[in-house]
């Protein structure tokens, strides 16, 4: 056998493996092995693509079947139930969907931690007029903030806990009463304290479910006061 023959043989062997992988007849162990090669071996990957395209016409022999609605529902809950990055926050308002509100329970765990922090570190908070608190976070990134609301002064105190600031962008804090348009509270920084204030009339809304969310916005804040997202952290405001 010449070298050329050997090469041809190897090529055919890989091609057969690629075909068997695409056809699906390999066992799990051999499938994993083929997938490892797919990641690292461009030639093998192109052989697999070749067989995928060769068999693609057979896909027409498979009838479409409308899936039940609950699959879509569950998918939305899984993918978008927290402050998942969203390219178009202002239009889709996904945070008002059931999934998002269910996702809030994650935040409840963080709140427990926060209460510990308040009790230990700032025993006089309550007397200072701080009566509401929210822990803002996301399971998709490491941004987390604690916001405290001082009822007497109408000020939000925003404490940055973790997360890397996006370059050339500002972060903006939003107050969301369920079912209504988000209201900008102001820009937040990475300094320990930022005190954007909100108009007095919003204080009475605090009996309702209030969500706070931080979005990434162009420098200077959201254009025309409408969030453009994505959300990096969110959490529910709780009375303490």
């Amino acid at each position: 056998m010449t070298d050329q023959d050997q090469n041809n043989f190897d090529e055919r062997d890989d091609d057969t493996l690629a075909a068997e992988y695409v056809l699906g007849v390999l066992d799990l162990k051999d499938r994993r092995e083929a997938e490892r090669r797919l990641q690292s071996d461009q030639v093998f990957a192109s052989l697999v693509r070749g067989w995928e395209n060769r068999f693609a016409d057979l896909n027409d022999d498979i009838d479409a079947v409308e899936p039940p609605e609950h699959v879509k529902q569950a998918l939305g809950d899984t993918l978008f139930s927290s402050s998942e990055n969203n390219a178009d926050v202002s239009k889709s308002f996904f945070w008002q969907t059931m999934g998002f509100w269910r996702g809030i329970s994650v935040v409840a765990v963080l709140l427990a931690v926060l209460f510990g922090y308040l009790a230990f570190d700032k025993p006089d908070r309550k007397e200072d007029g701080v009566s509401y608190v929210a822990s803002l976070s996301s399971k998709d990134n490491d941004h987390s903030y604690v916001t405290l609301f001082n009822e007497q002064t109408g000020e939000f105190i925003v404490r940055h806990i973790s997360g890397t600031p996006p370059a050339d962008k500002d972060l903006e804090l939003w107050l969301i009463v369920q079912g209504e348009k988000p209201v900008s509270i102001g820009l937040v920084g990475y300094e320990d304290k930022n005190k954007p204030a909100i108009p007095r009339e919003f204080v009475q809304e605090f009996d309702k479910d209030i969500l706070l969310a931080i979005t990434v916005e162009p420098k200077g804040g959201a254009p025309e006061g409408v969030a453009t997202g994505p959300i990096v952290a969110a959490g529910q405001l709780k009375n303490i």
Binding site: N59, D61, I62, T78, D88
Partner: protein, 180 residues
């Protein structure tokens, strides 16, 4: 009905985390992918779980589409197929599932399938016709029904190594024919 180009554009938007594009992609492609999963898994609740997992993958992997060189729909179906086959191969091979497979394998074409088959002769059909009937059925059974070598060997009542040789030769012939 979306064109292949539309689906390709939607995938590009999904790669940029556009939720609305994702919703639209789901609306227009989920029935086909569910059909693929049902056909391979032959279990409705499992196919429903798998569909959710497949779209989760699509959401996270959409950025890899552009470099794949496949048509958008083929790319999506490939993700569904691979997911279903992984599930099938992870199943313990039971006697019942093999019997079930044989029942499905011997299913006759519906009049509708027959009509499609006779009116639209594709190149791939002509190439399958050049194979012996049992071998053509084995290749199609693997692709469309998700049969493993073991299942195909049992259906054809031959040793597994014989089945491998048959299938590999058939694949080589198919390729040669498709590239003519």
């Amino acid at each position: 009905m979306l064109t292949a180009d539309d689906i390709s554009k939607l995938l590009a938007q999904v790669a940029l985390r556009d939720r609305q594009a994702f919703d639209m992609l789901y609306e227009h492609t989920s029935a086909k992918l569910f059909g693929v999963l049902l056909r391979l898994l032959k279990d409705r609740p499992e196919a429903e779980d798998a569909l959710q997992e497949v779209y989760t993958k699509i959401w996270h992997k959409a950025d890899r589409y552009s470099s794949s060189g496949a048509s958008a729909m083929t790319w999506l179906i490939t993700i569904a197929r691979n997911h279903a086959i992984d599930r099938l191969r992870a199943r313990p091979a039971t006697a019942e599932s093999l019997e079930e497979a044989e029942t499905v394998a011997s299913k006759e074409r519906s009049p509708e399938e027959e009509a499609i088959a006779s009116s639209e002769r594709r190149k791939i059909d002509n190439c399958f016709d050049r194979l012996e009937e049992s071998k053509s059925a084995a290749v199609k059974g693997a692709y469309l029904e998700g049969y493993s070598y073991q299942e195909l060997a049992k259906q054809n009542d031959v040793p597994i190594n014989t089945m491998r040789t048959w299938l590999r030769r058939s694949l080589a012939k198919l390729k040669e024919c498709l590239e003519e």
